[in-house]
């Protein structure tokens, strides 16, 4: 069995090899892109092979461990470098390598001019390696390796233009905030090992629930905190918007399609554990829902095109966690996949716009600012069309990809947690609103650029547009892999494929098909409402909302609820002060000063004795005599009985 899969180690290894070649053997910018793409393409093909091989197997046996070598072994602690091939990891591998491949190609066009694109592509490949390790590992520790690896690459890629101070800071912020999550994650692993006696998924999930009972909630919550860090859930979301400092393809790959979804993957992977703790599930659902609406609310007022997308990503991730939280893990993963398609596309489209404007706009004007755009639809048709499709998809308009996944999530929420369902619904409206706001401000209406600039704007090159088109197609039809039962029985290929993974879960109650249809219609209507709102405001220029919405709410959204400021005031600042205090006061003053003081005391005693040495011989004689008297008196003091 295993033998037939023994080649899977190549899947992560090839990108690593690509990075290696680019670092050590290649100095030519042109070639570097090719090498990177070739590496990813090969592993994509391999993933396809794995996929079909897996399909070929009976559903029951679609979970295979492939041990490469034994990694860390001390006494009772044993962890292998081994890969788990099952539908879940395969889906992730497909998304990572597939979308990744497109973005690699796109990068050739986008970064080809950059002086250090060799470095760029080696980072990108390194990221693919880490991400694949993350999704393929068959134990928590290996997942953690990937987990940190992607964090590192994100750090490097965010700070890719490191001569920009802001980029350097953003990279560091991302790494540190993630570390906070990792801290919890590590503790979770320690607890798991302590009680389950292993870190391999198979063993851990097989452990008798009663053994884990006392700590299951702690474990799952700790793991979830880790996920919150990686997947930018409130309150650990602060790093993602800043991460937009990185090159746009990076935002597409890491901060939209793959890395940020690692948290969702992890929760889904550990569904067996999460399912055992109602508390944890609730926490996941609530945090997810809250993040969804919170981020969406902020996204509605941002002007930086990439920041809007960043917040929308956060919001969508919230959806996925909501899905997991209500037990609809399949829905979560489904949304993960579709989101990968359309969000990557959105970022790449935005990238293509920025790319065009960078050259067009005169100095000092920010090419990412929506207020500098407008009316680009005629100038960049391909980009416009593909982004339109993506926007429809994310807005949840049928029959685009987003519709099916989001609908499934809403259904789950409606069934298990009506309150959260309302939240999710509201979020859906906002999503439609801000996404179309973005679309209209970019492409719609008439341009806000001066004529000389508009001349310079033109559609991006093929190598950029082709991936756009491909992704556009995916985000249009991608949803059909999971058609709900109401439309056609047994057409939910996606769910069917993942079914063996989530087989252990209790069957979720399914509402009557009429209710389900009603919900769909409701969602669609609300989405349409959102679109209409955006249209009235940003195309028709209607100021009705300005009059309706209180200023405070608007500022709150524009200032992102002042989260960064609060963190600076409550966490960063104090830690700085404490550190300063420790180093200057405790260390320098108390400890070192104390030692100096002791030394001084001894010295001064020495000096006292020293200066009692007067040099007058009779004083010495006197001391002797006194000494002598003491001695005599003492000795003869002991007279017998």
């Amino acid at each position: 069995m295993t033998e037939s899969f023994s080649y899977v180690w190549l899947i992560p290894f090839l990108p690593l090899l690509g990075a290696f070649i680019n670092v050590f053997c290649n100095r030519n910018p042109r070639v570097s892109g090719m090498i990177a793409c070739a590496a990813v393409a090969t592993s994509f093909l391999l993933v396809l092979a794995v996929f079909f091989q897996l399909i070929g197997l009976p559903a029951g046996e679609r979970s295979v461990d492939v041990v490469v070598y034994s990694w860390i072994t001390t006494g009772t602690f044993a962890v292998d470098v081994a890969f788990l091939i099952d539908p879940l990891s395969t889906v992730m591998m497909l998304v990572v390598t597939g979308v990744g491949l497109l973005i690699h190609v796109y990068s050739i066009g986008y970064m080809g001019k950059d002086t250090c694109c060799v470095r760029y592509f080696s980072y990108l490949n390194l990221f693919m390696f880490a991400m694949l390790i993350l999704v393929m590992g068959n134990n928590f520790l290996l997942m953690f390796v990937g987990w940190e690896g992607v964090g590192l690459c994100s750090y490097l890629l965010i700070g890719f233009w490191c001569e920009r101070q802001s980029a350097a800071n953003a990279g560091m912020k991302a790494f540190v905030v993630n570390r906070v999550g990792d801290f919890a994650f590590i503790l979770g692993l320690l607890l798991i090992f302590l009680y389950a006696g292993s870190l391999t998924y198979a063993d851990v999930f097989a452990v008798d629930p009663n053994v884990l009972a006392p700590v299951i909630t702690a474990i799952t919550l700790l793991l979830f905190i880790g996920a919150m860090g990686k997947s930018a859930q409130v309150p650990l979301h602060v790093w993602l918007p800043d991460a937009m400092e990185g090159p746009t393809p990076v935002s597409a790959l890491i901060h939209a399609a793959t890395m940020v979804t690692a948290g969702v993957y992890m929760v889904a992977r550990c569904h067996a554990l999460f399912a055992q703790s109602a508390t944890a599930m609730t926490a996941v659902a609530v945090v997810g829902a809250f993040t969804a609406i919170f981020a969406a609310y902020i996204a509605m007022t941002q002007y930086d095109i990439k920041r809007v997308l960043a917040y929308s990503t956060v919001s969508q991730l919230g959806y996925m966690f909501l899905a997991c939280g209500v037990g609809y893990f399949t829905a979560g993963i489904f949304h993960l996949v579709t989101h990968a398609f359309f969000k990557a596309l959105l970022f790449m489209g935005a990238g293509s716009v920025i790319h065009a404007l960078e050259h067009a706009l005169e100095k000092g004007k920010d090419p990412q600012d929506l207020r500098n755009m407008g009316g680009l639809s005629s100038l960049m048709p391909v980009t416009y069309k593909s982004m339109l499709l993506a926007t429809l998809a994310i807005a949840g308009i049928a029959p685009f990809a987003g519709f099916f996944s989001k609908d499934l999530i809403l259904l789950g929420a409606f069934v298990n947690a009506p309150v959260l369902w309302v939240v999710a619904l509201a979020t859906a409206v906002m999503t439609a609103f801000y996404m179309f706001r973005l679309l209209f401000m970019t492409f719609g209406g008439k341009t806000r650029m001066n004529p000389p600039e508009t001349e310079k704007v033109h559609e991006s090159s093929r190598v950029i547009t082709i991936p756009l088109v491909l992704l556009a197609i995916l985000s249009t039809v991608g949803g059909f892999i999971g058609i709900p039962h109401v439309f056609a029985k047994g057409m939910d290929r996606f769910g069917g494929f993942l079914a063996p993974v989530f087989s252990g879960l209790p069957e979720a109650p399914v509402p009557s098909s009429s209710v389900e249809l009603a919900l769909m219609v409701l969602t669609l209507l609300l989405a349409a409402a959102g679109i209409w709102g955006a249209y009235t405001v940003y195309i028709r220029g209607n100021t009705v909302f300005d009059r309706l919405v209180p200023r405070a709410l608007y500022t709150l959204s524009l200032r992102k609820f002042y989260v960064d400021e609060v963190y600076d005031a409550l966490i960063v600042g104090p830690i700085r002060k404490i550190a300063w205090g420790f180093s200057r006061i405790v260390d320098a003053l108390i400890i070192d000063g104390g030692l100096t003081l002791a030394a001084l005391t001894v010295r001064s005693v020495g000096n006292v004795i020293r200066y009692s040495q007067t040099g007058v011989v009779q004083h010495y004689a006197l001391i002797m005599v006194i000494g002598a008297l003491v001695v005599i008196v003492y000795v003869t003091g002991y007279l017998g009985p």
């Binding site: 002797m624 002598a628 005599i632 003869t636």
Partner: protein, 488 residues
């Protein structure tokens, strides 16, 4: 009334006889101006001969000088002690040569007195009777008085001599009175008889006499070994004395004092332990503390070494508490090592300050590492050894000494001693810092570029000895242990 003349056995006092006579020879030859240059080497040879004589007698049963009242005895203990003294004296002679030349004190008497002093010490070591001890003590002291004051034109030398003389005579007054009391208590001054009296039934009066005598003796000997509070003279005298003499003073006469102390406390007065153990331990700790703490704040090297020698005396007092063979052996071993170390340290100073001021300060050492690498290296070895860092002999000595203390059950004393020896590192290492990590401040004491060969040989010998003993201490350890076997 008719007296029987006691049978006497000159063989027992051969070493002493040889020493005295060779001193006399040197004295006479010294009268002839033309032999002046040869004198040091002559005295070396003569010392060596007497050394050989002593070695010959090693390992035999103790031989008493006379059967009726053995004034002196030639046992391994006295012989080993004598050998230590002789070795010390030879090194002193070597480091004296250039120094004495430079200050034109290199006359015959100088070396003659040195040898007389040695003979006095060996009498102290061999004496089994308070009077032979006293005789030796006086021979030693009187020669030292002269030696210290030998640089007649140096006010310091003169002052030091006077101080040492007055206080020394004062101290011998105490000793003599103590002897008188002991004589009164036991009707004799022989160690055996006194010990016997102690062992036997004794009245309060006798007891009072004994204890008083012991106390007074302790005062006198405490002066010689510069035990607090009888130490006050040490720094002044070391500073004033010609450097080689100071070296001799800090090793030889101190060693002699300890040898006598071992004989007295461990064999004669062991009966009175309860009385003197607490006293000695307190005084020992005081000595260690004062020596180390004051040395911290000294920048005049001779005074610094003086205080360090006080501290070392303190260490050497500790094993008396355990009052065991090992204890005494560890003291002997420590004395051997200590002699090498201190002669090395003072020797470096002597070589450095052959010309110029008698007292070198830390600044004179600045940059020595680059000016005289060899000299600096020797000094460094000596300093690390004094500080008790392996692989030097100093460590082995300290280790053996403190393990004897611990074995005696006085762990707290050992810990105190060790901690203070940690303090001592500060000033020993400061010297090393000045030599290697400070640029030469001003054109310092040694005007001469080249150093006398004799001096350097002495220093190299002691440095090598320190290292060798540090790595292979077995031989000397066994010697020290053999030496104390013969003690009653």
């Amino acid at each position: 009334m008719n007296m029987v003349l006691p049978e006497i056995n000159l063989y027992a006092v051969m070493p002493q006889i040889f020493l005295v006579s060779s001193a006399t020879v040197v004295l006479i030859v010294g009268l002839f101006e033309r032999f002046r240059r040869a004198i040091p080497y002559l005295s070396l040879v003569l010392l060596a001969i007497s050394g050989v004589v002593a070695v010959n007698q090693l390992g035999q049963d103790p031989i008493a000088f006379s059967d009726t009242s053995p004034m002196m005895v030639s046992d391994d203990f006295s012989l080993v002690a004598t050998l230590i003294f002789i070795a010390g004296a030879m090194l002193t002679v070597l480091i004296s040569v250039s120094y004495a030349e430079a200050r034109s004190i290199g006359r015959g008497e100088y070396y003659a007195l040195l040898i007389y002093a040695v003979s006095g010490m060996s009498m102290m070591a061999a004496g089994t009777d308070l009077f032979s001890f006293f005789l030796g003590l006086e021979v030693l002291s009187i020669s030292l008085y002269v030696l210290i004051g030998f640089e007649q034109r140096e006010a310091g030398s003169n002052e030091g001599a006077l101080k040492y003389f007055l206080l020394g005579a004062f101290a011998s007054g105490f000793i003599l009175y103590g002897m008188a009391l002991l004589y009164g208590a036991s009707g004799s001054t022989e160690y055996e008889v006194i010990a016997h009296t102690l062992a036997g039934e004794r009245s309060d009066a006798v007891n009072l006499l004994l204890l008083g005598g012991l106390g007074l003796l302790l005062v006198g000997i405490g002066f010689k070994i510069s035990m607090v509070p009888f130490h006050a003279w040490t720094p002044d005298v070391y500073q004033g004395a010609p450097t080689p003499v100071a070296a001799f003073l800090s090793t030889g006469s101190k060693a002699a004092g300890f040898v006598v102390l071992i004989r007295l406390l461990d064999s004669v007065f062991s009966g009175l332990q309860v009385d003197w153990i607490p006293l000695i331990s307190v005084l020992a700790v005081l000595t260690i503390a004062v020596g180390n703490v004051v040395a911290l704040v000294q920048s005049n090297l001779k005074r610094l070494l003086a205080y360090s020698s006080i501290a070392h005396a303190g260490y050497m007092l500790l094993p008396f508490m355990s009052n065991s063979q090992d204890g005494s052996a560890s003291i002997i071993f420590y004395l051997i090592v200590y002699t090498a170390m201190n002669l090395g340290a003072f020797g470096v100073l002597a070589v450095l300050t052959a010309r110029g001021s008698t007292c070198a300060t830390l600044d004179d050492l600045a940059g020595l590492g680059s000016r005289h690498p060899l000299l600096a290296a020797i000094m460094a070895v000596v300093m690390f050894s004094l500080a008790g860092i392996p692989p030097t002999a100093g460590f082995m000595a300290k280790f053996y000494l403190f393990s004897a203390v611990v074995t005696g059950g006085y762990i707290e004393l050992a810990v105190i001693g060790l901690l203070f020896s940690g303090v001592s590192l500060y000033y020993y290492l400061r010297i090393v810092i000045w030599m290697y990590m400070r640029p030469a401040a001003r054109e310092s004491a040694d005007a001469t570029g080249r150093l006398s060969y004799s001096g350097m040989t002495a220093l190299c010998v002691s440095a090598l000895a320190i290292l060798a003993v540090g790595v292979f201490p077995s031989g000397l350890l066994q010697l020290a242990q053999r030496a104390v076997m013969t003690l009653p």
